[in-house]
């Protein structure tokens, strides 16, 4: 066991994957010599060489399109998009090719590849550096979309994503890279994709979130407990596939739910969660499910970002609304 941050856990997973499987390679802008803008591939270029840790030209479509070809020909590329906000030039490759080839070729060709993207706000970054648009990827057939929130999950899920026979978009909460630490096993282990996890068990209300917002939700849980409320906190970990069973089971118990994400509100993944809760558990609901989200606006820059990114206070207020009824 070793105590690692979420960032270190990812580095560890990359290292293990490169070591264990010759088909694995990393490609992205500045992932090589510089070790990635977040230093997540630190040391790997030196260890595995420029054929396996590839500093790509500044061309996201090029990175994903080329990696796609590599995956079809038998490699297991792990690509890094520097920030989620720079994934859009590659969007066409993801929608039109990465997510499609298995279906359009009826399993004859496949593209097992991982697309890593640091995502999310709350750190006062520059424009385009705080995006959380996972729902556009959730709406893209043929790709899985996962978001770890702990070092343990980050490592195990990344190794699982690399092993997955299908493409996986692997979102990394920037805000948690170095703010969470835990003891995790040395060496390879897998965490299955597609299963939510109950982080905090409780009885009165279900708080459903994922990624960086687990941190705010945990704070909200602490406040609520002090107020005598017993919330159950669920970390989805994966939005595609979406583990609706775990969510519904909880809501059937609590009768109340709040979904939290920092993504824009309209057509954000929270809407999907709400829609499925009401499809499966309408008559268990004692109050409307609340969504605590970012707004339909450009993520504000540092000085005004606090108006946008959900806070523990806003979560507590939303829980309050569900308890009013």
């Amino acid at each position: 066991m070793a105590v690692l941050t979420l960032a270190q856990a990812i580095t560890d997973a990359l290292d293990i994957a490169l070591d264990n499987d010759e088909r694995v390679l990393l490609m992205g802008e500045d992932v090589g010599k510089a070790g990635g803008v977040f230093r997540l591939s630190n040391g790997l270029y030196e260890k595995y060489g420029p054929d396996r840790v590839i500093d790509a030209p500044v061309a996201e479509s090029g990175i994903i399109g080329t990696a796609f070809g590599m995956a079809v020909a038998g490699m297991r590329p792990v690509t890094e998009i520097q920030f989620m906000g720079f994934s859009y030039p590659a969007y066409d490759q993801i929608v039109s090719h990465v997510g499609r080839i298995r279906s359009r070729s009826r399993h004859r060709f496949t593209s097992p590849m991982v697309i890593r993207m640091p995502y999310g706000g709350g750190i006062g970054a520059s424009e385009h550096h705080s995006e959380s648009t996972e729902s556009i990827y959730a709406h893209t057939p043929g790709v899985k979309v996962v978001v770890p929130s702990t070092p343990y999950d980050a490592k195990g899920m990344l190794l699982q994503a690399i092993d997955d026979p299908d493409p996986v978009i692997f979102l990394e909460p920037i805000r948690l890279y170095r703010s969470v630490k835990e003891e995790i096993p040395v060496g390879a282990y897998l965490v299955p994709l597609g299963l939510a996890r109950v982080l905090v068990p409780g009885d009165d209300v279900t708080i459903i979130t994922y990624g960086a917002m687990t941190a705010e939700a945990r704070k909200a849980v602490a406040i609520l407990k002090q107020e005598g409320v017993s919330p159950e906190l669920i970390d989805l970990r994966s939005i595609v596939p979406f583990d609706v069973d775990t969510v519904v089971e909880s809501v059937e118990k609590t009768g109340r739910a709040v979904v939290v994400h920092e993504a824009h509100r309209t057509a954000g993944f929270g809407a999907e969660v709400v829609a499925q809760i009401q499809e499966r558990a309408l008559f268990s609901l004692s109050a409307p499910v609340q969504r605590v989200t970012g707004w339909d606006m450009i993520v504000p820059l540092k000085r005004a970002e606090h108006h946008y990114v959900p806070t523990a206070e806003r979560i507590v207020a939303a829980v309050g609304k569900t308890l009013e009824e």
């Binding site: 030209p57 298995r102 004859r108 597609g194």
Partner: protein, 342 residues
């Protein structure tokens, strides 16, 4: 512009292949044309969705594909059926796609040809990745990508050329400059005189040639493939040609080009010049022509039958095709469809 065989069937350079091989490729071009006309005909009868004919481009496709090794990769477009067929993609699957059947996207295991790209541009990058991966795995398989001159306007052409150049991937970029992108002529598409010169922006060799000349195509492709297989990097080939038919069966080309222009290009027909050459060399007669047309027609007819005979996919095939194992999301959607009686 490189030319070896004139429209009159006369040599103005050394033929890169011998007469028996020329006969084989001529026959392939005849077969391709029969396929193309048959597909156009049955589309008119409503038996195919839209179809994109390649008539006039047979030399560019057959002559280039003939250079490949059977296990080389090919990533081509909706208009490249002849090239794909040369590389082992059966006519029936190419047709199946046009009848609206996904099984058309699934060539046999030994055929390293991706299903035809409908999006313009994006697929060139795939050929870069394919060739790169082969080299990383210690194989000398190369990858060729086919595309039109219109596709060079897409950003992905640029990114593909650049990635291939920087990493010296064994990729051949074969552009069929057939003068039009749907209705859009060269002047509205680009401000250069040639496509080949675009290679200079990447430090890649560019070659421009008469794309209706089987020998010129073969010769240039051979050099490019050898370069690629020898780990010497990519080449851009511009095969100057013409699409005799409409963009697709839904297109009305009279809106944007004249009959004179079409006739002029017809006189440069890629099949006819090889026929004349063979005839001049005593390697063609009408009887043989009838014979090969008969045999190739039969192959095409059989392909139509096979394509049309495919079972319509059921819903399960659809749900099962998305991932190695359907996700829980898809499983619940499958149940929902059943419950809705769909």
């Amino acid at each position: 512009m490189l030319q070896i065989l004139t429209p009159e069937g006369e040599l103005v350079g050394d033929p890169p292949i011998d007469v028996p091989m020329t006969r084989r490729l001529y026959r392939a071009m005849v077969g391709a044309r029969l396929y193309d006309r048959k597909a156009t005909a049955i589309q008119k009868q409503g038996r195919l969705a839209t179809y994109a004919p390649f008539e006039g481009q047979e030399a560019a496709q057959v002559g280039s594909a003939a250079v490949l090794r059977p296990d080389d990769w090919m990533v081509a477009t909706y208009r490249d059926a002849a090239a794909m067929w040369m590389q082992g993609y059966p006519w029936e699957l190419l047709l199946a796609g046009r009848t609206g059947h996904e099984r058309g996207g699934s060539p046999p295991d030994y055929v390293n040809v991706l299903p035809p790209s409908i999006t313009v541009g994006a697929h060139m990058l795939h050929a870069v990745g394919l060739a790169w991966a082969e080299r990383l795995q210690g194989n000398d398989r190369i990858a060729v990508t086919y595309f039109g001159e219109g596709a060079t306007s897409e950003g992905d052409f640029h990114e593909a050329m650049n990635f291939a150049a920087v990493h010296r991937t064994g990729t051949v970029f074969l552009c069929q400059n057939n003068q039009y992108a749907i209705s859009t002529g060269l002047n509205a598409q680009m401000a250069t005189d040639t496509i080949a010169q675009k290679a200079g922006a990447y430090g890649v060799p560019g070659v421009r040639l008469d794309g209706n000349d089987l020998f010129a195509v073969y010769w240039a492709m051979k050099n490019a493939v050898d370069r690629a297989r020898g780990s010497n990097g990519p080449t851009l080939i511009e095969a100057v040609t013409y699409r005799i038919g409409p963009h697709t069966t839904s297109d009305d080309p009279t809106r944007y080009r004249t009959n004179e222009e079409v006739d002029d290009w017809r006189s440069r027909d890629p099949l006819e010049r090889v026929r004349r050459y063979l005839e001049l060399n005593g390697a063609w007669d009408e009887e043989w022509q009838k014979h090969i047309e008969g045999e190739e027609s039969a192959v095409v007819e059989r392909a139509v039958e096979l394509a049309e005979g495919l079972n319509t996919p059921d819903a399960d095939e659809l749900f099962d095709s998305m991932f190695a194992e359907p996700t829980s999301d898809l499983e619940s959607q499958r149940r929902l469809l059943e419950s809705e009686g769909g």
